[in-house]
């Protein structure tokens, strides 16, 4: 399963941050918030006056169909890895949580 993250940060900011944090997943830059708007996650002036995305997670199948989604009420709250693994377990028949 691929993991892909999106934020409004420019490519160089995400690259620098990703290198510091050791991100191994794909991180995409949506500087104009076009995709964020397409997913209706645009939070105008949500962070010190800057436009951001409200935090959200979507689990998709190979056809792009949404299997599960989580829209949090605060950027401080994210779905934990264990929660996502439980969802994957339920969807994929118990094999997702194995290392």
């Amino acid at each position: 399963m691929r993991i892909v993250a999106v934020s409004v940060d420019p490519v160089d900011v995400t690259r620098t941050h990703g290198e510091k944090q050791g991100f191994t997943f794909t991180f995409l830059s949506d500087t104009k918030a076009e995709v964020i708007r397409r997913y209706d996650l645009h939070h105008a002036g949500g962070f010190g006056g800057a436009d951001i995305a409200r935090p959200a997670e979507f689990l998709l199948d190979a056809d792009g169909k949404v299997l599960w989604r989580n829209l949090t009420e605060s950027y401080k709250v994210r779905a934990k890895a264990e929660e996502i693994l439980k969802v994957m377990d339920a969807l994929a028949g118990g094999s997702a949580s194995k290392p």
Partner: protein, 86 residues
Amino acid sequence: MRSARFLVLPALLLAGLLIAAAPMLTQLPPSKGSPQVGEIAPGFTLPDTGGKPVKLAELLADPSAAAKRPARTAPALLLLFYRGYW
């Protein structure tokens, strides 16, 4: 002064209204247009950290990930939207 006293109550009411309204001013959007479970997620093309354009369709069709999946309806991609401004 008497005129100043008349201003105190309205000022307090206004302050109270602003304090009560403050959470609403930063409230998250309702996101009613966001794809629901069962719907197809909107496609897109965005640059990765190397500046290379990446399409959602390409990520979903990743052959190395597909080989490990038990079925087409199994999870293929976890799409995370972050706030930004690290």
